[in-house]
Symmetry: C2
Subunit: 321 residues, 2 copies
């Protein structure tokens, strides 16, 4: 695993950035070298490694996924007007909004071109799942935007949004790795499903940690989602389970301006407790994770071959940051 991560970092560092025109490629190199967990390329290489040992052959697909993911971060940060990413100023802050648009567009194109360099028999299928996934991620982002101005987002709507915004790219990473290795079509599909499930679990974990994580480990302050009124699994579940009275109290706490931040977070967390939300969220994560394990266990490969993928998923989900 460590080995894979090193190889990914090395490959990212050796990407060739044209020197000119000035100002186009610097932000791309900047964001790609700023760090991150490299989850998507790792998943692609792990899926490939289920079938073959020469994982460098899947590296173009792996890099394409990481370039694409960073394109979404760049444009999302612009749209969210975020100041910091991985402890560094965001591209539109360090440069400007126009640079963020154009360098971001260039990254999307570079991601396609990198994926096209994958040397495999099923490149067309590989490109198709990649491109379809990209469009789904845009759809997820649009749902996320639309949800900001709504108080009636259902849990199912929320789950579909995060499936599109987060899960399908993890699923796609696994499928691209499998396709690059010329895995059987049924395997590629099962790995896709595995990715969707761990992606959902991963995002619910994120929602959970935002309220109940250890701030020292989690790396951001607690309750941020509550303060910006984000429709999370916790909030949509709470609103759906609340009595009319609790529903009104919850909306008052989330949208109210008569409470300071600390009091607002405290009030919402009290209501979450009353409604058993932390437990429900925890259970849902466990259910998704065990469903994912079942899918992986059914993949017709020797257990020891699948161990690294199990381990990675477990580390992703038991993570505290």
């Amino acid at each position: 695993m460590k080995n894979l991560l090193n190889e990914i970092e090395t490959a990212l560092k050796s990407l060739d950035y044209p020197q000119r025109p000035e100002g186009l490629y610097e932000p791309i190199e900047y964001i790609l070298s700023a760090g991150g967990k490299r989850i998507r390329p790792t998943l692609a290489l792990l899926a490939y490694s289920l079938y073959r040992d020469d994982f460098q052959r899947a590296m173009p697909a792996a890099l394409a996924l990481e370039i694409y993911h960073n394109h979404t971060l760049l444009h999302d940060d612009l749209m969210d007007n975020a100041d910091v990413r991985h402890g560094m100023p965001t591209v539109h802050r360090r440069w400007n909004a126009n640079t963020a648009v154009l360098s971001g567009d260039t990254m999307l194109i570079m991601a396609f071109r990198k994926a096209m360099q994958t040397d495999c028999d099923r490149k067309e299928e590989l490109l198709q799942v990649f491109a379809q996934t990209m469009q789904e991620v845009c759809e997820g982002q649009q749902y996320d935007v639309n949800f900001e101005s709504r108080n009636d987002v259902s849990v199912d709507e929320y789950l579909e949004m995060i499936r599109l915004k987060t899960s399908v790219l993890l699923a796609c990473a696994l499928k691209m790795g499998a396709l690059a290795a010329d895995a059987p079509a049924a395997d590629a599909q099962q790995l896709y499903r595995f990715g969707e499930l761990i992606g959902l679990a991963f995002q619910l974990q994120d929602d959970y940690l935002d309220c109940y994580g250890d701030p020292a480990v989690f790396g951001k302050s607690i309750g941020g989602d509550i303060l910006c009124g984000k429709k999370t699994f916790l909030l949509t579940t709470a609103l759906q389970r609340a009595t009319p009275q609790q529903h009104a109290q919850l909306l008052a706490a989330i949208n109210g301006t008569n409470l300071d931040n600390g009091a607002k977070i405290k009030r919402v967390l009290e209501l979450y407790e009353d409604l058993n939300i932390p437990q429900l969220c925890h259970e849902r994560i466990e259910t998704l994770y065990s469903e994912a394990e079942t899918v992986l266990s059914q993949l017709p490969l020797p257990a020891e071959r699948k161990q690294p993928l199990y381990d990675f998923a477990r580390r992703m989900l038991k993570r505290e940051k």
Copy 2:
């Protein structure tokens, strides 16, 4: 030709836009149905028709080009803060900047996916020239931005910028049409070169008309490039040919704040006259056009087969709007 244009409009109208999420696809349908000359898809279908009669087979490639071109318009209008396009409010005006970013990204992805639907043996080559061209267009846009803050842009730098920003996409359109028809590699390359040349001529014509066109026909007021200090073929040539005194006068007129708009335009046009710029621009357009005709004449196909492409290029260039 009329026939091709009708077919393109019909195909654009029958594009399938998902109904959800709300707000993502409406701006895409809006900009794609707002009109335009459909030059790029027409060039693709004309190139295809040099070799085969069933031009509908090249329609996915043609539509991909038009979707991509409109993606660039959408994001360029956002970056330029433009209010109007084809007589209608731009997407970021009618909706907002974030919508322009995200719907624009989606169009770039849709363009790729549409190009992938082209049914031909050389799809990989077709996708490669398309993706490479997209990246070059981003580079051209970045050069254009960089030139805004420079007074020392050479004519050659300017020509390279418009080659990237405008010409390569026309060239790519012709090459994609040829590849879709399985034309010989040498032919595809010659058509690419033909596209580059008419693209350059087309852009110089645009520069020329901005100063010397009939505003009633040209559709915008005269001298807009002068007022915003745009580095055009006219200005870069003038600055390069000017005596030190004329050079200073020209920069004073372009950058000066002591002249009203009418006086500024008049002064710059006087200096252009002194330096013989209109004539030089006209000659350069003629040279490029006749070079383009030579390239096309050398394409080993019957003359009557090539006539529609000649005619289209001539109409593009002798156009007064």
